[in-house]
Amino acid sequence: MQLTNRSKVVSNKVQTAMEQLYLPGILKGMLITGSHLFKRRATVKYPEETRPVAAVYRGWHVLKRDENGAERCTACGLCAVACPAEAITMESAERKKGEEGLYREEKYAKVYEINMLRCIFCGLCEEACPKEAIFLTDRLVDTEYEREDFVYGKSKLTEKVDKRIDVSKRQTLEVAEFKKLPGLKHNEMWDSKKIDKGHKH
């Protein structure tokens, strides 16, 4: 299939005397490269400038806290089930007395890890979450030297109390409505198969 009309049919025809001189060809080539002197630079000077990203860009995850600063996650494991790359692991724990300010509900995630090397940033965890606890933000994942460092624990995922992350773009009513649709794949999975029925990590 012809995608563009820029393709050229190659032939082995003998060069004319003018072509054998090469000079016109060379000059033509130099004009082409020279004309690029006056074209727009494609470079984005990264730390100072960043490329504009879409509002719904899916990057580094965040574990949200509620208005009081308590973690929303209840370690239900739905995100881990929904994850096609099996990047999420968690360990739950029971909330003790006096920890009400830290965790919203009686059960919370003691360990919550996402392997950023496995994660494909599809956002299914976000869709699966019934507690509005996990979101994908537009932050880029850091570079690291070791593979182990790419397994992000709660320290890197949970948002700081004094430094909230705005995910209002992802919490719109439409999204909430969308999540309630019965026909969605992960909801289906939750309905038909039981969670404890052989979904290992």
């Binding site: 000079l23 060379i26 080539g29 130099m30 082409i32 490269t33 020279g34 690029h36 002197l37 074209k39 727009r40 630079r41 494609a42 470079t43 000077k45």
Partner: protein, 351 residues
């Protein structure tokens, strides 16, 4: 006597430093220009506009690990890059940088030495430069290095011939002098030599590209076939010397081209400008303006060198030899014949 020696020393050091500085900043300009030609920005992190980049590169070169192959001849291995650098720096000695100027009441020549065989000196030094590459490639005890050095030296020897014949035609137009200063001085009134020697200039330019091992003639260091060419086994500052010498050679050959064909420190209506400014002969300002004009030309030539490098693909080895022997050599002979006829009718030659 002592004053003379000091003056010579100062001018030697000045030319030496100038060559090194220009070469260092040529590396930056090469990277910048290649970036501009490819819609990129180029190095801009070290200092404002990346102006400290050459220092960073040099520092990196110095602190890299020095590897000398165990089986190679150590002395020759070190001699190779040193020789290349030495000959590259030696060529700057005969180039007239500016007009003579009075400094402190004495007339000083802005040239290390004005020998009457300047052009021959250039050719001699360049032909000795081949040894550095050959010795370096051989002492590496590596077949790629050896092949690269063979290619480099055969390329340099082949293109020297066409270059020499093109220069002979130039010498005829400038009245049979071999001194660079006289050639430059002759172009201050009428036209620059390029008017009389357009073909000669093109031949010289192509040969200069080949002599400095610049693209599209950079197959001595052709990474695709030869790993790295004659400097495959070199590391650290010894590699730096090889790379640096290439830039010095580029600078010097640009300077020579500007002197031969574009009037060196002369420029159109120079005399009128000096008269309008009320500058007498031998004024410091004439020297400085002339030096600026010369440097503008050199800068343009260096930029064209780089522009060509980032435009054209590399020649194949047989194409290179074909171009040198079957096209450039006959062309330069033709140029010589035409020059003789033209000069005869201009009345510059009599039999």
């Amino acid at each position: 006597m002592l004053a003379f020696i000091i003056y010579k020393l100062i001018i030697c050091v000045a030319v030496f430093g100038l060559s090194l500085a220009v070469a260092a900043y040529s590396t930056l300009w090469e990277r910048k220009l290649s970036a501009l030609l490819q819609d990129r920005v180029g190095p801009d992190r070290a200092g404002p506009f990346g102006l400290l980049q050459p220092l960073a590169d040099g520092g990196k070169m110095f602190f890299k690990e020095e590897i000398i192959p165990n089986v190679s001849n150590k002395f020759l291995f070190i001699l190779g890059p040193s020789l290349v650098m030495l000959t590259a720096l030696m060529t700057g000695a005969v180039i007239p940088w500016a007009k003579d100027a009075y400094v402190g009441g004495k007339l000083y020549s802005m040239q290390i030495t004005d020998i009457n065989i300047g052009i021959l000196y250039l050719f001699g030094v360049v032909s000795v430069g081949v040894y550095g590459i050959m010795i370096g490639g051989w002492a590496s005890n590596n077949k790629y290095a050896l092949l690269g050095s063979m290619r480099a030296s055969s390329q340099m020897i082949s293109y020297e011939i066409a270059m020499g014949i093109a220069v002979i035609a130039l010498i005829i137009t400038s009245g049979g002098t071999l001194s660079l200063r006289e050639i430059v001085e002759q172009q201050d009134a009428g036209f620059a030599n390029i008017v009389w020697q357009p073909l000669g200039f093109i031949i010289f330019f192509v040969c200069a590209l080949a002599e400095t091992n610049r693209a599209p003639f950079d197959l001595p260091e052709c990474e695709a076939e030869l790993v790295g060419g004659y400097h495959t086994e070199y590391s650290s500052m010894k590699l730096g010397l090889f790379l640096f010498a290439e830039y010095i050679n580029m600078f010097i050959s640009s300077a020579v081209m500007a002197a031969f064909y574009f009037g060196g420190y002369n420029f159109p209506f120079a005399q009128e400008l000096y008269d309008a400014m009320g500058l007498a002969d031998g004024s410091k300002w004439i020297a400085i303006i002339g030096f600026g004009a010369y440097f503008t030309k050199i800068f343009l030539f260096i930029s064209v060198f780089m522009w060509i490098r980032w435009t054209l693909p590399r020649f194949r080895y047989d194409q290179l030899m074909n171009l040198g022997w079957r096209i450039l050599l006959p062309l330069s002979l033709l140029n010589l014949a035409i020059t003789v006829v033209v000069e005869f009718f201009r009345g510059h030659i009599t039999f």
